[in-house]
Symmetry: C2
Subunit: 558 residues, 2 copies
C-alpha cells in the first residue's frame, strides 16, 4: 500500500506516522510546500510575546528532536518531500503532480490512498492598501519572525490589530507592554463572537483595563502608506485614522480546498473539504484531515469550521485507522475554544444563546459568578459561568466561562457533559473532585446547573444584564433591589437601586412595593435569589433576579 | 409542615435552607450539639497550616456574614437550637427528645419530617495510651485550634501522624516546615489506598523528597507517656519507638448512626444510615444526609462511604426537594477525591485496578505521563495519568492522576465520562478546549485513552513497573530496551537496560535479540511504543512496553 499525504504541518504528519505504525508494509510519502514541517502553529503568539524563547522550540519533540525530513524518515519511517507543492490530483490514474519549489522540477507520484492535509490560510480581505508592507498575518513561523522583527525595527509605538477573534486577542496579549498604543479594530458589535455578547463585553472590559483600545462596529476602510509610499502608516476607519507602525490582520482562517476542488472533490457549505465521519471525501481513496476540512457540529449536525490543532490530531488518527482497515469515526466538534487574555481565562463550548435559539430550542440561561475555590482560601479567583440549556428537557446546550478563575476545567467538564447529552440535573449531581485547593464544595458548574434547574422549576425568574439595562434606559417603573450590606454597596452599586440588606429584609418586607416589578440582586445574585424567594413567599406577584448580580454587570457602575 | 433537622454543620443547614426557600410555610428547626454551626470542615488543615488565617474565616459566608443562630433565623428563616443534643427519636409520636447541653434542660420537639445530618466522627482506635493528651484528631474547629496551640506550646520537634489517607497527608502538608521531624505511620503497604499502589508510591516519593518520613506496614502498638505521665512522648511501632511531641490521628471517619440505629432505622453494611435514592430512610418521614449516610457506588452499585462536603450539599438539596414534594434522586458517588501534597496534585475517581478486578471486569490499564501543556510552554508541569478500563467494551472504569500538573481537571472530565458510561473511544474524541496556556493539542486524558485503545486493539502490550521490577529481581532473561538519547540516559537510567536511541533503531534492529522478550521504554513510553511497533513490524515475536516509561518508574533509578 502506498499512501501520499499532502501537507506536513499537523494533521498530515499525524496521519502519516500512525499509518506506518499500523501498517509497516505501507510506503508513505508526505509533501510539504512550506518552509517548516510539523510546527506548533498555536504557539506562534507565545513566541511573538516572548513566552517561547526560540522559534525552533515550536518545531521540536518533547525529547528535543527537530522534526525535519530526516527525523520523519529515521524515526517515523515516513518519506518527506520538503518545499514541494502538489499541484493537481489525477483521480482516475490515482496520482498527484508536484513541483519542487527550489528547483522547479516537476513530477508525479502515484498513490493507493491519498490524504489531503492542506491546512488553512489567513484571510487577507481586498481592502485598499492591503499589500503595503508591515501588514502581517500570524500563521507561519516566518510570519511570527516578521512580527518580532517589526517590533524591533519600528520601535513600535502604534500597532493596530484587525479582528477581535481568538488570534486577535492572543496577539494583543503577546504585544501588550511592547508597544505604546495597541488598538483592536473589530467590525462586529462585540469581540470574541463565539461568546454571548455580555460575556464578550466582560472580556473586552478586561482588555481595556489593561490598556488595549478596543473599537467595535469598526470596519477597516483602507490602509494608508507612510512617507516611503510602501509601508503602512495608518488604518482608515469610520472612527477615524489610527496611526500604525505595523498591522496584524486576524480576520479569520479559510480552508485550503482549491486542490481538492480542482480534482472534483466535494466541498462543503463553509468552503472546507467535505468528508464523512471516516474522514473520507467523496472519492473512496481520498481522505482529508485538519484545517482544510469542515467538521460537523455534534449538537446541531450542521457543518462548522473551527480549525484547531486538537481536532487535526483526532482527524489524523481516524483517517489513518480507516486507511489501515481499522474502522473508526470522528463524531464532530462542539466549537470548544479557550484563550488567555492577560489575567482572564476565557473558554466556551457548544451553542451560544443565539445559536441555540436559531436551532429551535426554547432556551433557558443563567449567569453564575463565584470564587473558583472556597472563599476562605486566599488562592481563590473569581469566575463567571454562563450555561445555555433546553427548557423543555433540561439538556445542556452550551457553556461559557470568563474570569481569572479556572475556566478551562469547568468548560472541559461541560464538553464531556454535552458529548453525552447530559441534562443540567445530571451535571448538578456529578461527583466532581473536591478539596479546598481545587474547588468550592459546590463546584461553580454545579451551582450554575442548579440555577438553571431552579429557573426551569419556576423557582427563579432571571433577567439578563441587557434586559435590566433596557429597563433602566427606558425609564421603566420597576424596583431594582440591592440586598448587599452597606460596605459592599459602598464599593460599587447600580444606579437607582433600592438598598435593603438581606439580613434585615424579613423585617422590612413592607418597604418593597407590591405593585411593581422587583428585580433582586447582590454580588453574584445568590442572596438576590434568597431575597426573591422571600418576596415571592410573602406574596409579591412580580419578582425577578438580575442574572449574575453586580459581579457580571458589564455596564458602568455607580 | 414542620421539619426538624438534626445537625448544623453542612448537610443539615443546606437541607434546612433549601426547604424554607421552597416552602415558606414550613417551620424548620435545626439542632446542633457542637460549638460551631455551618463551618467548612474541609478547610481545617489549611487553618492549621496558616493558609487560612482565622478560624472564623471557616464560619463565614462569601459576603463576610458569620453563620450563627441569628444569621440562620434572619437570613434563612431557620430556627436554630445551638448546643442542643437530640437524644432519641420517637417515630410513633413523630417527635425527638433533646437536651440543652449548657443548662441540662430537656424537652421534645415534634416533626412532620425529620432530617438526620448527624455527620461522622474520627476513629480513635483502642490502642494502649490513646487517651494521653496531645493525641489529636482534626475534625472540628476546636481540634484545629488545639493542634495550632500544641505547635506553639511544644515548639514541636517531632510529630507523628497516624494514617496516610487524605487527612493524614493534608495534615502533613500543613505541618511541614513547622516541625523538625514529621513522620507518617501507615499500617497498610501503601499510603492513599484509593490510588493504585504504584501511583501511591509516586506520591510517597514526593513526600519523602520533601522531608516526610513515611513508614508503611507499620501498625501503632501503643502511645507512650512522657515524664508527666499524662501527655504523649513517643509512639511504639514494630519499626521502633518514634518520639512525638504530639500526634495527629487520621485513621478514618465513621458515620454517626447511633441515634438512627436506636430508633430502629436501617443502617447499611458500612455502618452508615441506609437511604434510598431520595435520601429517605426506611421510615418515610425520616431523611438522612451528609457524612452519617453511606452512598451507593455509581459503577458497582455497592455501598461506599466517602464523606465529603460536596456530597453533603447534594444530599441536602435532594432531601429538601423530596420533603417539599419535588421528586429528586441522588445517583450515588464515584469515590472521587483530590488532595494537594506540596507540589503534587493527586486526584482519582471510579474503580481502582483492584476494585475493578474484584467487580469482575477484564481490566486493561495504562500509565500516561506527559506535560500538561505543550512542552514548549515554560508553564507546563508534568502529570502522570492512569486509566482503568474494561477490555471487553472499552468502557472507562477509573482514572487516577499524580504530579505537579493539572490533575483535578483531567479527573473531573473522567468523572463526567464515567457518569455517562463513556468508553475510552468516546473520551479520545472529546472536543476538549485547547490553547497552549491550558493543554497540549492532545490532552493528557486523550493520550491516555488512545493508549488503552491501542492496547485493546493489540497494537501495544504493556507491562506495569511492578511487572518489570519482578523480572529484574528474578533475574529474568529479557531485554529492557531504552530508546532515549544519550543525554537523556545520562540523567537517569534503569539498571541493565540496552540503549539504542529511537533515531537509529531502524538501522540497528539486528542488535535486538529475537529470541527474548523485549520491553521498550523511553521517558514516557511514547517513543517506547514507536520502538515496539518497529520491532513487531520487523518480526520480533515478543515485544512489550514499560507502562509510563522512566517518568512513572517508582523504584530506584541508576
Amino acid at each position: 500500500m502506498k499512501v501520499v499525504v499532502v501537507g506536513g504541518v499537523a494533521a498530515g504528519p499525524k496521519t502519516a506516522s500512525r499509518i506506518v505504525r499500523l501498517r509497516p508494509d505501507a510506503e508513505v510519502v508526505m509533501f510539504e510546500k512550506g518552509n517548516s514541517l510539523s510546527f506548533a502553529g498555536c504557539g506562534l503568539p507565545y513566541f511573538v510575546g516572548g513566552v517561547v524563547k526560540q522559534h525552533t522550540d515550536l518545531m521540536m519533540t518533547p525529547a528535543g528532536a527537530v522534526r525535519n525530513a530526516g527525523f520523519f524518515e529515521k524515526v517515523k519511517g515516513v518519506k518527506v518531500r520538503p518545499r514541494c507543492e502538489v499541484t493537481t490530483i489525477d483521480r482516475a490514474k490515482r496520482q498527484v503532480a508536484y513541483t519542487e519549489l527550489e528547483s522547479g522540477v516537476t513530477g508525479v507520484e502515484s498513490y493507493d490512498k491519498l490524504v489531503l492535509a492542506t491546512g488553512g490560510r489567513p484571510v487577507r480581505p481586498p481592502i485598499p492598501g492591503i499589500n503595503l508592507t508591515n501588514i502581517f498575518t500570524l500563521h507561519t513561523i516566518d510570519d511570527s519572525r516578521a512580527v518580532k522583527a517589526a517590533l524591533v525595527k519600528t520601535a513600535a509605538r502604534n500597532v493596530v490589530i484587525v479582528g477581535g477573534g481568538l488570534i486577535g486577542v492572543e496577539t494583543a496579549e503577546a504585544l501588550l507592554g511592547k508597544v505604546d498604543q495597541l488598538t483592536i479594530v473589530e467590525m462586529m458589535p462585540q469581540i470574541l463572537t463565539m461568546l454571548d455578547w455580555e460575556m464578550a463585553l466582560l472580556a473586552q472590559r478586561h482588555m481595556e483595563a489593561n490598556g488595549v483600545d478596543v473599537r467595535l462596529n469598526c470596519r477597516v476602510e483602507g490602509f494608508i502608506a507612510g512617507a516611503d509610499g510602501q509601508s503602512v502608516a495608518a488604518v482608515r476607519t469610520p472612527q477615524g485614522e489610527l496611526p500604525a507602525d505595523f498591522v496584524v490582520l486576524a480576520v479569520g482562517v479559510r480552508p485550503n480546498a482549491e486542490l481538492a476542488k480542482a480534482a472534483g472533490l466535494a466541498v462543503g457549505a463553509l468552503g472546507g473539504i467535505a468528508t464523512d465521519a471516516h474522514m473520507r471525501t467523496n472519492d473512496p481513496d481520498i481522505y482529508a484531515v485538519g484545517d482544510c476540512v469542515e467538521s460537523r457540529h455534534r449538537i446541531t449536525g450542521q457543518p462548522c469550521y473551527v480549525p484547531l490543532g486538537s481536532t487535526a490530531n483526532k482527524h489524523g488518527r481516524v483517517a489513518a485507522n480507516n486507511i489501515c482497515g481499522v474502522a473508526d469515526t470522528f463524531p464532530g466538534v462542539l466549537g470548544s475554544t479557550v484563550c488567555k487574555i492577560f489575567d482572564f481565562n476565557i473558554a466556551r463550548t457548544g451553542l451560544s444563546t443565539e445559536a441555540a435559539r436559531a436551532a429551535g430550542f426554547d432556551v433557558v440561561t443563567c449567569i453564575a459568578p463565584g470564587p473558583d475555590r472556597p472563599h476562605y482560601m486566599p488562592t481563590f479567583k473569581s469566575l463567571i459561568i454562563k450555561l445555555i440549556a433546553d427548557r423543555k428537557t433540561g439538556r445542556l446546550l452550551g457553556a461559557q466561562a470568563v474570569g481569572p478563575g479556572g475556566a478551562d476545567k469547568r468548560i472541559d467538564v461541560a464538553v464531556t457533559a454535552l458529548s453525552a447529552g447530559m441534562t443540567v440535573d445530571d451535571i448538578s449531581k456529578l461527583d466532581l473532585v473536591y478539596a479546598p485547593p481545587y474547588a468550592p464544595a459546590m463546584d461553580n458548574l454545579i451551582t450554575a446547573a442548579d440555577i438553571i434547574k431552579n429557573k426551569i422549576a419556576g423557582l427563579a425568574e432571571g433577567l439578563t444584564p441587557e434586559e435590566v439595562k433596557q429597563r433602566m434606559d427606558a425609564g421603566a417603573n420597576f424596583v431594582l433591589l440591592d440586598v448587599r450590606t452597606p460596605p459592599e454597596v459602598a464599593t460599587a452599586a447600580l444606579p437607582g437601586a433600592m438598598q435593603i440588606p438581606l439580613g434585615v429584609l424579613r423585617e422590612r418586607l413592607a418597604e418593597v412595593p407590591r405593585d411593581k416589578e422587583v428585580v433582586c440582586f447582590c454580588q453574584v445574585s445568590l442572596r438576590g435569589y434568597e431575597a426573591a424567594r422571600m418576596l415571592k413567599n410573602a406574596g409579591h406577584p412580580n419578582v425577578k433576579i438580575l442574572d449574575g448580580g453586580i459581579a457580571a454587570w458589564p455596564y458602568e457602575k455607580a
